[in-house]
Symmetry: D2
Subunit: 379 residues, 4 copies
Amino acid sequence: MEPVRYGMIGGGRGAFIGGVHRTAAAIAGNWRLTAGALSSDPERAKASGAEIGLPADRVYGSWPEMLEREAALRQSERIEVVSIVTPNHMHAAPAIAALEAGFDVIIDKPLADTIENAKAIADAVERTGRRIAVTHTYTGYPLVKQARQLVTSGQFGAVRRVSVKYTQDWLSRAADLVDNKQAAWRTDPNQSGDAGAFGDIGTHAANLVEFITGERITLMCAELTMLPGRAIDDDGAALFRLSGGGRGTLTASQICVGDINDLAIDIYCAEAGLHWRQEEPNTMRIGYRDRPTEIWHAGANRAYLAPDIRAIQRTPGGHPEGYLEAFANIYRIFGEQLRGATRSEESPGYATMDDALRGMRFIAAALESSRRGAVWVDL
Amino acid sequence: MEPVRYGMIGGGRGAFIGGVHRTAAAIAGNWRLTAGALSSDPERAKASGAEIGLPADRVYGSWPEMLEREAALRQSERIEVVSIVTPNHMHAAPAIAALEAGFDVIIDKPLADTIENAKAIADAVERTGRRIAVTHTYTGYPLVKQARQLVTSGQFGAVRRVSVKYTQDWLSRAADLVDNKQAAWRTDPNQSGDAGAFGDIGTHAANLVEFITGERITLMCAELTMLPGRAIDDDGAALFRLSGGGRGTLTASQICVGDINDLAIDIYCAEAGLHWRQEEPNTMRIGYRDRPTEIWHAGANRAYLAPDIRAIQRTPGGHPEGYLEAFANIYRIFGEQLRGATRSEESPGYATMDDALRGMRFIAAALESSRRGAVWVDL
Amino acid sequence: MEPVRYGMIGGGRGAFIGGVHRTAAAIAGNWRLTAGALSSDPERAKASGAEIGLPADRVYGSWPEMLEREAALRQSERIEVVSIVTPNHMHAAPAIAALEAGFDVIIDKPLADTIENAKAIADAVERTGRRIAVTHTYTGYPLVKQARQLVTSGQFGAVRRVSVKYTQDWLSRAADLVDNKQAAWRTDPNQSGDAGAFGDIGTHAANLVEFITGERITLMCAELTMLPGRAIDDDGAALFRLSGGGRGTLTASQICVGDINDLAIDIYCAEAGLHWRQEEPNTMRIGYRDRPTEIWHAGANRAYLAPDIRAIQRTPGGHPEGYLEAFANIYRIFGEQLRGATRSEESPGYATMDDALRGMRFIAAALESSRRGAVWVDL
Amino acid sequence: MEPVRYGMIGGGRGAFIGGVHRTAAAIAGNWRLTAGALSSDPERAKASGAEIGLPADRVYGSWPEMLEREAALRQSERIEVVSIVTPNHMHAAPAIAALEAGFDVIIDKPLADTIENAKAIADAVERTGRRIAVTHTYTGYPLVKQARQLVTSGQFGAVRRVSVKYTQDWLSRAADLVDNKQAAWRTDPNQSGDAGAFGDIGTHAANLVEFITGERITLMCAELTMLPGRAIDDDGAALFRLSGGGRGTLTASQICVGDINDLAIDIYCAEAGLHWRQEEPNTMRIGYRDRPTEIWHAGANRAYLAPDIRAIQRTPGGHPEGYLEAFANIYRIFGEQLRGATRSEESPGYATMDDALRGMRFIAAALESSRRGAVWVDL
C-alpha cells in the first residue's frame, strides 16, 4: 500500500504538537511527509523544513502558497492530505482552504477556537465531500478501544456512573504565562478561544467518556475557575448526565500540583467497573462484585483482547507502547481508510467531524453553565 | 492509668459495627468492656453478652435497665462511658438518657437519623456537661492525621481543589435489600434517616475533607440517585466549595461495582498535592511540581512523621496497621482525654459534637440540593 | 468459650514483640493475660506489670517464680499457657521449665538460639505431651492461607520457581548497633545465635515458602555477608531446591536501604503465578498465561475466598486488616485448638514444632553453606 | 543533519525484531531505510521489501548481494550502515562481511551464537576500524540512563546488593516449541547457541546490572534448568558478585507463568535503593532510610532529570514513552555519533563491542557453572 503523502501546516521550531504528529505518522508507517508550511514566519518556515529533512522545493513560506503550489502538481506527486497543527484560532482558515483545494485534512483538537469556526469547517467538509480526522489522541490507545468494545457490547450492563479527570500542573503558578510559548497561546482567549483548561484538556476527557460509553453527554452543570490575573479557566469541575441515564463527574485542571498529565477514567456499569489511566496506558483494571479484580494487559499477543485491538499493536505484551504509538494509531487508521480499507469496528477509531462538533458544544456548555452560576445546561 | 470502664448498647449477634468497637477498645488498651445491653431483644441480649465474656450480672436486657442499674453501682465499679452502636434511628434516645444518667458517650456515626434528633443530643451534651465522641473512623488513621498537619500548617499553600470519593458495591443489585441485616436497616428511611449512601458513607467523605483541610464545606450542589424500587439514595455526586475558597467534588455510592470500600481523597494545594486511599492506608502520596513525587510511609519509627503521629502507632514501618487500629486510635485518644491527658495537637483527634452536627447538615444539604434539581445550597 | 489464661515471660518496658503478642491476644478475643514475668530485672518486671494492668499478685519478679506460684494455684484460676517473648538465647530454659510445669507454650520465632537448644525444647514437648506454637507471624495473614490452599490443591500445577525476599534497612549503617536495644541483642551472637538476618528474618521467608507450597527446602547454596565490624550476617542470598523439584532464590537483608519490612514472595506454578507482599497484605496477584491477571482481595465477605479464610477475618473487604490481626490469627487458632476445636484445614494454621525445627535447620544450613564458600548443602 | 542511510539484513515477513528496528529508526528521525536483504529466501526477501516501501532496486535477494551492490554505488547514495536482525547463528557472517565491505554495523543482541563467533566479529571491528552498536534495548530507557548517572556518581554510596530478574511465560508449555517461529529458533541450539533463556534475556539482565552500576559481574554461581524434552535452558537463577564488592541475584526464565516481559531491577546502595521495572518504564522508585520514598517520572520537562536525559525524550512528562522509543534512543545516539556528535556522558548510551563480549562471557559462565553443579566461576 503506497504511503499517504501529506503536508504539514504549523509545527515549526519550538512547537510541540507538530513533532508529535510527524513521529506518529512515521510510526504509523503508511504516511510520508512530503511538504510543509511550518510557520507563519517564512524564514522560520524554511529553516524548520530543512531541519526535518523536507526537500527545499516542498517547503513553503505560507500555507496558502503550499495549497496553491501543491494543487498544481501531478496527482501522483502532490500531497493528498494536509495536517494542521497550528494554535486553535488558526485552524479554520487553512482547514477550509485545504478542503476546498481538494485535500483531505487531519487536524489537532479542539476543532476550532469558536463554535462558529467549527461549524464553518463542518460546512466545508460537507460541501467538498472531503474527509477529516480530528486527533483526540487518547482514543488511539489500544486498551481504550478495548474498553469501548466491552462497554458498548452491553455485556457489563448499563453505564451507571462515570468519573473522569484530566489534571495537569504546568499552569499552577502565576508566572507560568510568561516566557512559555505553549502557555502563551493556550491561555490567550484570542488564540485559544474562550475556554482554557476545559477547551485544551476537558474536551479530551469528554471525548473519552463518549468514545468508551458510546453515549452522549446530554446535560451538564460546570463551575470553571482561574487563578487571579488570568483571562480563561485553568481549573473546573462538572456534574453531567449521559444519554443512557448514567451520571458522571468531570474534572479538568492545569493547576493540580503534582499531577503531570493525569487523564483517568472510571466507568461503572451494572456488572463491572472499568478503570484506565493514561500515564500507565498498558493496563486496564476491571472490578467485579463477586470475582477477583482483573488486570488486562495491552500487547499484540494477548489472547483475551479483540482481534482488531491486537492487530493495531506493534509489540507483544510487556513491551510498552505509549503516547506516540496511540497517536500513530489515529494516523494509521485514517491512512488506511483513505486507501479504502474498511474496519470491522463500527467506530472509525478516531474523532469524526461529529465528535469534534460535540467537543465544541461541550466547551460552549461548560462556559455557559459556569457563567450562569453552575446551572444545568443542555448539550 | 486505669482503663475506662464502658457499657455497650447494641452490637449483639449478627451486628457488624459493635464487634468493631469492642476490638478497637481492646487494641486501644485503655478501655475495659464492663457491661452491655447488646440487643433490644432481652434473650438475644443475654446470649450475646455471654458470648463475648461479660459477667452475667453486667449483661442487661435493655439499655434503660443498664443505665439505671449501672448508675446505682459504686463509682469505682460502675461503667463510665456508654458506647452506642445501634442503627441511626436508635441513637438519640439512649444517648440522651446516658448523658442524663451521668455517663459520657462514644457513638457511631452519623450522629442521628434526623437533624432534630442530632440537635437533641447536642442539647443534652450542653445541658449535662458530659463528653461525647463520634466515631468517624477514617480520621483515626495516622497518615490522615499527618495529612491534616501538613495541610493546615500552610506549608503547601492554599487548598485549591479537593476530590473525594467513597464508593462501594454491596448494594449494586436490586436483590441486595432482601435478607441482609446491614442492608435492611441502612436502606430503610425509618431506621437510617432520609439519606442512604450520602448519610452512611458520604458523611465520612465530607468529614475527611473538613478534617484534613481544617476548612468547612460552605456550598454544595448535589445530585442523588437510586436504583428503581429503592426509597433512599444509593449513589450521588456533588460539587462543593470550601470556606477558604477552594473547590471540590464528592462522590458517594454503594452501587459502584468492583469498588469495595474505596474512600480516597486528593487534596491539591498551591505547592503540593496529597493523595490518600483507605484501602492502602499505610502510604500517602505527595506530588510536587518540580520535585519527585514522595511516598510517605506509616510506622512508629518513620523519622519524617510528626512525633504525635509516630506515638499513636503500635508497630514500626512495614508492619501494616489497618481499619481496626484506626478505630482503636479514636477510642485511645478519647480514653486518654477522659483520664485528663491533653494532646499537643489542636484537633481532638476524633469527631466532636460540632463535627457531627456538620455531618448532619451535610446530609440535609445534599438531600435538599438534589430534591430541588441539584441547585446550590448553603451548609 | 472461656478465654485461655496466659502468663507472659519477657515483654517488659522497651520491648517490642511482647506488646505485639498482648495486642494480638486481645484482638483474638479468646485469650486473657493473667500473669507476667516481664523482665529479668524484678523491679522492672513489677513496674511493667502494673503498667499493662496486671493485678499486682500475678506480677512476678522472675519466670521461675511465676511458673512455681502459678502451678500452685487452683486449676480454674491459674494460667494455662506461657507466652515466651524473650531474646532467642532465653527461649530454651523457660520453655522447657514451663512445659515440665504442665503449661502449654506459645513462643516467638526462631525457636531457639542454637539447634541444640531447639532440640531440647522439642524433647521436652515430646516428654511432657504439652502443646507448643511458634509465632511465624506471616502465615497468619488470610491471603497467605488462601495462597497455600490454591497451591497445595494442585489446581495450578507443579511449583516450578519461587522467589522470596525479606529485606529491611534498619541495620544499614555501622552506627546502628549502638544505643538500640533491638539491634543490640539481635546482632550479638551470644543472645541471638550464630545467625543474624538469616535467623531473624530469613527464617520467616523460608517458613513462608514451605507453608505456601506445602513442600520442603531440600538443598541450598547461600552466601551471607555483613558490614565491616559486625559479628553476624546482616545480608545474604541463596539458591535453593524444593522437595517437589522446583527451584528458588531467597534474599534476606537488614541493610537494603529504603526497604522497610519488605517480605515478598512470587510462586510460579505450571499454570499460574502467585504474588504476595506483606506490606500490602490485603491483595494477592495471580497471573495466568492466557487470561487477565487477577487481584484477589482479603475480606470476610469476599465470595471467592475459601470459607475458613473468610471466617478468620474480622472485617469485610476494603477494611484493611494488618500485622496485628495476622498475629492475632495465630493466637486465635492456637487458643481454639487448646479448647478442643478442630479445623477443617489440614494445616494447623501456625508453625508447629516440626516447622520450628526446620527453621533451625535452615539457619544451620545457610551458615554452613556460606562458611564453606557458598557450596550446596542439604537441609 | 543528513539522515544515516542503512540497509537491513533479516527482518522479513513474520519476523518480530526487524520491524522493531525499522520503527525505532523512524522514531529516531536521523536514519533512513535505504536497502534491504530481508530474508534468506530471495522471493520472500523481495516481497518483504516491497511491503515496507523500499524501492525495488534496493531490495536484494541475499545479503552478500546487498553488500556487493551497495558498495558499488556512489558514496552519497549507498548505505552507510548495515542493521543485522537475523537469528543469532546468522550474526557473524554478515556482520564480518559488512565490516569488511566498509559498512558500520548495528546488530541485535546477543552478539553471536558462540563466543568464538563473537570474537571473530570483534576481530573484524578492530581490523577494519568500523563502528558497531549492539542493541541491548533496555539501556535506551531514559530512567535507566538516569539511574546509571545516580549510581555511578557515587552520591548514593557503594552498591551493596543487586536483584535483577527477567521473566516471561511464552515458553511455559511443552507445546510452545511447535508452530512458533520465534520459539523455534530461540530454542534450537543450532540457531540460538547453547544458551536459551540465559542467552536471550539473561544477557539483557546482566547488561542492565553492569550498565547501571558501572561495575562488572566478576563471579557467578548459576543453576539453569529446562522443561522435559528441551535442549537448552528455559529457566535459571544465579548468585553473583560485582567488581566493587557488592552481591547480587539474577533470575531469567521463559516459563514463569503470568509474567509477560518482566525485566525488573533493584539496586541497593549504602544510602539509597533504586527500583525500575521495564513494564512501567516511566517511573523509577528511590527509597531512603530516613526520608519518604521518591518516585521519579520520565519526561522531557522534568526539572530533576539530568539535561542529557531530558534531551533524549520526545514528550513532556505524563506522555508515556515505551519500548520503541527506548529502542529509538539507541539508533538516535549511534546515528549522532556516526555523524560526529559527541555526548557529554562518558557512556556511549548503547552496548559497545566490549559490553557485547561481556554478554557472551556471561552466557558461557552461566552454562559452565550450571554444567558443573552450580559452582562458582569467574567471568
